[in-house]
């Protein structure tokens, strides 16, 4: 029975379950392995049977600009320094505090007003711990740098990002932080503006402990983009 799935395996028409089952079978069935190899050999030249066709007008420009609009994962790997080694949480209180202060002038007042309540919470909850921290480097053509800290607090995770030397947004523009998982899904993790000297910060409670692979900051045309529209300005692997 299993050997009959070979054609559908070759053409990728099996569902995930059947594909996994066939791959298991393939490991045990010499005939199927040989037939699969034979199919590959016999079809290897067939693409060259395609009649040469002129690509569409302007295709190269369209395709390459679409491709280069995506950040190469490896570029980030190259430009971002290795994640900082874990340090005791206490050392991170300083940047954390700085991040809060940078939120905005209004936020300071708010934070002061909340201080009493916060103190009470801290007293009865587990102390926050630092789960990790990375430096974000500017991508080609952009300025700036940032530090992102992942904080475990009261059973949930927050990311606190603090940036400086950024270009000051104009009009409705705003910086947005994105968390990107293995599948390439991008989730918004806060929006911020900078002060006149290009400094900005934001904290964000993460919806879930997904396996985040990357953190990035984009400059968006408005503060409301559900998916990144603007260029990636800063990025780092997590």
């Amino acid at each position: 029975m299993k050997c009959e799935a070979l054609i559908d395996y070759f053409n990728g028409t099996l569902n995930d379950k059947d594909r996994a089952a066939f791959e298991k079978h393939l490991a045990e069935c010499t005939d199927c392995r040989e037939e699969l190899e034979e199919l590959r050999l016999l079809t290897a030249d067939l693409p060259f049977a395609a009649e040469p066709a002129e690509p569409n007008d302007g295709m190269k420009e369209r395709v390459l600009s679409a491709v280069f609009a995506e950040e190469p994962v490896t570029a980030v790997e190259k430009t971002a320094p290795a994640p900082a080694p874990r340090k005791p949480a206490r050392q991170w209180l300083q940047p954390l505090l700085a991040a809060s202060l940078l939120l905005s002038a209004g936020a300071n007042v708010y934070l002061l007003a909340q201080k009493e309540e916060t103190d009470q919470q801290v007293a009865r909850e587990e102390p926050a711990t630092l789960a990790g921290s990375v430096q974000l480097a500017a991508t080609e053509g952009f300025n700036g740098q940032a530090q992102a800290s992942m904080v475990q607090e009261n059973g949930h995770s927050s990311v606190i990002l603090q940036a400086n030397q950024l270009q000051v947004p104009t009009g409705t523009e705003a910086y947005q932080v994105w968390l990107i998982n293995e599948a390439g899904d991008k989730v918004r993790a806060g929006t911020f503006n900078t002060d006149e000297s290009g400094r900005g910060a934001v904290s964000y409670t993460m919806p879930s402990d997904d396996n985040w692979q990357m953190i990035a900051v984009t400059l968006e045309p408005t503060a409301t983009s559900e998916q990144p529209l603007g260029d990636i300005v800063l990025a780092a692997e997590l």
Binding site: G12, P47, P52, F68, K78
Partner: protein, 191 residues
Amino acid sequence: MSEQDFELYERIQAADKQALETLYERYEKLLFSFALRMTGRRDLSEEIVQDVFMKIWTKPNLYDRSKGKFSSWLLTVTRNASIDSMRRKNEQTEALDERDSLKSNEPAVEDLVQWKEEGTVLRHAIAQLAEEQREMIELFYFKGLSQRAIAEERNIPLGTVKGRIRLALKHLKGHLSTGKGGVDGEVRGID
């Protein structure tokens, strides 16, 4: 040739835009033509080529030498993307007519010698197959249909599909190995 491709691919792994552009220029026409051969649609073919290069650019280390020759791997990726695209659009596409193939006077590809050398010979050999065998190769390889869909399309028992595909492919290989010299001569005559 494949050594150069591999070097380009390595540079792309280091986010070298120029390397991707060079690779694109080298394969644009072949991949587009192959996608067009499969889907019969120029708009889908452009999307497919874009998908392929998008993968190469954004997903690190997709290719390594264990996957065989780079160009073969690239063509397999293009074929899979074409099959996905056809399935997604769920559209009946008209295959290009094989019999028109010898009338082409497209300019020769400078870089991809293999295409130039093999294309005409291959199309000639495919045209020599019996209708039934040509159809099997068309439905299986270029349309990427499931075994069941092929059985229904050809109105043959499901259990015979695999055997017929293998037979058709082996016949094609046979035509290629025995007929090569003669076809080459013919091609030279045309040139």
